[in-house]
Amino acid sequence: MGQFWVSTSWLLPAYGLMGAVLALPWSTGILRRTGPRPAAYLNILMTGVAFIHGGLVFRSIWNSGSQALLFRWFSFADLQLDLALDISVINLGALELITGLSLLAQIFALGYLEKDWALARFYSLMGFFEAAMSGLVLSGSLFLSYSLLEMLTLSTYLLVGFWYAQPLVVTAARDAFLTKRIGDVLLLMGVIALSALAGSLNFNDLYAWVKTEPLSPGLSTLLGLALIAGPVGKCAQFPLHLWLDEAMEGPNPASILRNSVVVTCGAYVLIRLQPIIVLSPVALGVLVLLGAITAVGGSLVAIAQVDLKRTLSYSTSAYLGLVFIAVGTEWPGVALTLLLTHAVAKALIFMAVGSIITTTNSQNLTEMGGLWAKMPATTLAFGIGALGMVGVLPLGCFWGLRMGLDFLSQSSAWLVVVFLTVNGLTALNLMRVFRLVFLGPPQAKTRRAPEVPWPMAVPMVTLSIVNLLVPAIMTRLSLVPPWEYLNLPMTSLLIATGIVGLGAGLVLPLSKSLARSTYRPLRIVQDLLAYDFYTERIYNRTIVAAVAVLSHCSNWFDRYVVDGLVNAVGLASLMGGEGLKYSISGQSQLYLLTIMTGVGLLGALMTWTLW
């Protein structure tokens, strides 16, 4: 029976797609009589099926070892493109994480989007989204991974642009697509190059090829840089990080997934590519550097945000930066642990955020306060999620961060500092958000704030419990080391920075009415961080402006030079004809002379070589 589930595991990504297709009659408006709810139920059902099927496969390969499924998709001359799925314990674990969170997020969306007219379209997109992610974590070939990354780009575009009538959403969707697309095109260059050089694009063949084929350092560097560009875009790392905070304009249930598992998918591809990137020390260095910049920069920028969702999205970038550091220093185990723990904690925080937004119809931090007594479940969920994010109590991320510190402390001290800084700053920021939202006196928007209805409360409470159980689950999967392996100095440093961060957040003076400081130097720093180091403006002035100028130049050149030349030739011949017609006198002698001259010249030309 177990083998049956494994051999049908290609269905796992297909379930989401089936849900998306099944919801089409409602999302295109063919079926209106029933309302959009059946589409939602169908998608939830399909996700549930995927979750259960995934669990069964997980159980059977836990006992029997990993397997691979290979389908030849396209074959021509020397090109073979396979759709390969690796059914291994880690991949299945990631799949369970994705389908589980997707299930919870979809139930959550029943409440969150209750009054939205396009509920069916949302569920279609979520099904598509989930299918792409599930396929991505199972994928055993770079070709499939690339294709699914592009699918993710497309579905992100459509999900961010879900409320496409709002101007901010339109620009957010555009930026999300274009920044990811830049990464994807660079990745495609790498994929094409690898395919041409190595022949096969299956990860196993690539790993074998990497070991035998001597590549010149220049080529391997270019290859490595191209390969990391895709994950950089997908994981919202500097310099392609802009889209994630803008994407927060989209509906919250999609943000839950985007901040937890979508970024995980990008990092997952990076981990699969790591044995190829290792060829180039430069690429590894770039990976670490980008990760460090994003980790510290993102944590700092998060503190200055006044938008509830955006501040948390920057912390997502920061944690993914830590993952990049882990991959760049060749500790994929750390990266995977961080991804798992971060995803679970961040998803819970975003569920709490969704509850707050539904109740208060606002996501502006300065307009909130005093929600702790009115929304106890949400308060608890946010608290658990926040504690799971930072290394204070031995919840989720504590273990990931601890492991990273443990390994990094042997090699490079400055990366340890980065890890500790991110931990402290995140603790500070989460405490700041907690105080602004839940503590203090209620404001206009938080005065009448009932707890959310059950479709939102149930997944939120479920995920809170899961968060509390994460250490137990990790112990069960033997991801938590025994106590004697604990690196005590590093662990105490981690806890110390967490506590310092929380304490700093607790005593930080917070003024709600004046979010911008009146003290000028402080205000400058605040603005610098609030506008994300003015990255968007820099891009507008440089890359966007360059493309715009180039396109206008070529348009101008086209209209006035290329087309102008053509029109000038046309005009000249017309004018020539018009002009010559007045030279006609009507005398036959003149005609004869013209003809004779013409024939004479022609004859001279023809016989030129004979002279």
Partner: protein
């Protein structure tokens, strides 16, 4: 059998034009639809009887015609022409289906469309150089009239420009053909890959340049492209569909069939220049498209960019890139036809194509939600998102050309990124936002209520979208027809391709990379397990053990 594909449309044209009694527009449409439907059946019949393992011409027909000139009526079908023939029949049918049912002078209109269809089929089937030229010219005047009579306000200018450009291209092609046959001392114009073998390289080069410019005008390639945006903007929607989907393919087909196929030595010598030309064309077309505000013009410039890929692939001339040209021609035919179709619907319902005026057409109740959704699908296909045919054709082109022209290929991929930029601008401006038709002025029109698009008008767009997705998911359905033909076309270029690939690989591997036979499929299943990735650095035992050895 092949002649029927040419004769049925011509016969249909005769019937439409000489129908004895009063002929209503609907009847003319029905007759032309019927005759194009018959040719479609003919193409399907040919496809089912097509021998996949033969490289050369099949179903050959030979009638001596003007023997003293070397002109014979010789037709043949191979893996290069079959997919294009199918696209021609399909898009002809689409064009007739979407034609305005109340247009004036229906007899002339439909007979012209039928003549174009027959002539293009003839050009794709011709296995004699002069015969190809005759069919190539035959399609010219009908298209001129179709633009000049049923076109937009500047139709006279656009049609004349088209006529002059294409006539010039015809002259150059004819000159090249005559030069090729006369200089090589042949008496027959029958297609033969060895025609130019005896010529010195210099003469081959001159002839090839004439041919390149001739077909480059038709494709069109920078700087011979300015007729295309004008023609597209002025032509009515069905004519745009035909023009972009079928007629441009005559140019690329000519490049591959007569350039790549007839002048191997000169082609190899000029290939780096052509690849550079392709890059210029791709980047120029894409950049110019970004600046357009007319939706139709934007799609037209995107055609210039996307047809540049065909030149890149043809100049690399590996088996993969040659099949990539076929893929790119077909996929561009389908995708651009879909885009022009949808732009036509938008223009029909809103009365404008101006991107500075249109807003929020995706509105579910008062806008054009399905048209908008299909538009998103179309532009994503054009931008090369996997799952649609645009991706696999671009992948084949890039993958096939990479080893030969790495820098040029990478630059063309930048063009593929730019495609996303301008089409995203199109979708974001016209389809996202609040529904409005806002001409420049103080009072935008906000209470727009666009008429619903009937299902019969959505039909062709849905069919094209279905084909785009189907071929994207299952490209083997397209590749199987062309496999042996492309391998035969590639045969003279093996040494060239190897020399190109040498820069990257050790010689032993190059042979494998260029082997024309399919290597044994390596279906051996190896358990990967990210454990393998995890193992590479040393990790503490407790983390790994249960995973790698459960």
């Amino acid at each position: 059998m092949l002649s029927t594909l040419i004769l049925i449309p011509i016969l249909g044209a005769l019937v439409v034009s000489f129908w004895p009694s009063q002929l209503t527009s609907a009847m003319a449409k029905a007759i032309s639809g019927l005759s194009l439907g018959l040719t479609w059946v003919g193409v399907v019949w040919l496809a089912t009887h097509f021998d996949l393992t033969t490289a050369g011409f099949q179903f050959e027909e030979l009638l001596p015609w003007v023997e003293s000139l070397g002109l014979s009526y010789r037709l043949g079908l191979d893996g290069l022409s079959l997919p294009l023939l199918a696209v021609n029949s399909l898009l002809g049918l689409v064009a007739v289906y979407i034609s305005d049912p109340h247009l004036h002078r229906p007899r002339l209109y439909y007979s012209l469309i039928l003549i174009i269809n027959g002539a293009v089929a003839g050009a794709f089937l011709a296995a004699n150089l002069l015969l190809f030229f005759i069919f190539y010219e035959l399609e010219l005047i009908p298209l001129y009239l179709l633009i000049a009579i049923w076109g937009g306000p500047r139709r006279g200018y656009a049609a004349t420009k088209f006529l002059i450009y294409t006539a010039l291209s015809g002259v150059l092609i004819l000159g090249a053909f005559l030069g090729l046959v006369w200089l090589s001392g042949n008496t027959s114009f029958d297609y033969d890959t060895g025609l130019a073998a005896a010529l010195p390289l210099m003469q081959q080069g001159i002839l090839l340049v004439a041919l390149l410019i001739g077909f480059g005008i038709k494709v069109p390639l920078f700087p011979f492209h300015t007729w295309l945006p004008d023609a597209h903007v002025e032509a009515s929607t069905p004519i745009s569909v035909l023009l972009a989907g079928v007629l441009l393919k005559l140019g690329t087909y000519g490049l591959v069939r007569f350039g790549l196929g007839l002048f191997p030595q000169a082609w190899m010598a000029l290939a780096p220049w052509m690849a550079g030309w392709a890059v210029v064309s791709v980047l120029y077309g894409s950049l110019a498209a970004i600046a357009q505000v007319d939706m139709k013009k934007m799609v037209a410039y995107s055609s210039i960019g996307h047809m540049g890929y065909v030149l890149l692939a043809a100049s690399a001339s590996t088996p993969l890139s040659i099949v990539g040209t076929v893929f790119q021609m077909v996929s561009h035919g389908l995708i651009s036809a879909l885009l022009f179709l949808l732009v036509g619907v938008v223009y029909h319902t809103t009365g404008t194509r101006d991107l500075t005026v249109l807003r929020g057409l995706l509105n579910p109740e008062r806008g054009l939600p399905l048209v908008g959704s299909l538009m998103i699908l179309g532009v994503m296909a054009s931008a090369g998102i996997p799952g649609m045919v645009g991706f696999i054709s671009e992948f084949l082109v890039f993958r096939g050309s990479f080893l030969i022209f790495p820098v040029q290929t990478l630059l063309c991929m930048v063009g593929s990124g730019l495609t996303a930029v301008y089409f995203l601008l199109l979708v974001n401006r016209a389809f996202f936002g609040r529904l409005a038709i806002a001409p420049a002025g103080p009072t935008p029109q906000l209470d727009v209520d666009l008429p619903a698009v009937a299902w019969r008008d959505r039909g062709p767009a849905l069919a094209l979208a279905g084909l785009i997705v189907a071929f994207g998911l299952q490209p083997n359905w397209m590749a199987r027809w062309s496999e042996h033909t492309t391998l035969a076309l590639h045969a003279p270029y093996q040494g060239f391709v190897q020399a190109g690939a040498l820069r990257f690989l050790s010689p032993a591997r190059t042979l494998a990379a260029d082997s024309t036979s399919l290597p044994p499929t390596d279906l051996e299943v190896r358990p990967w397990g990210p454990a393998a990735a995890l193992v590479s650095p040393p990790l503490p035992a407790p983390l790994l053990d249960p995973i790698s050895q459960p």
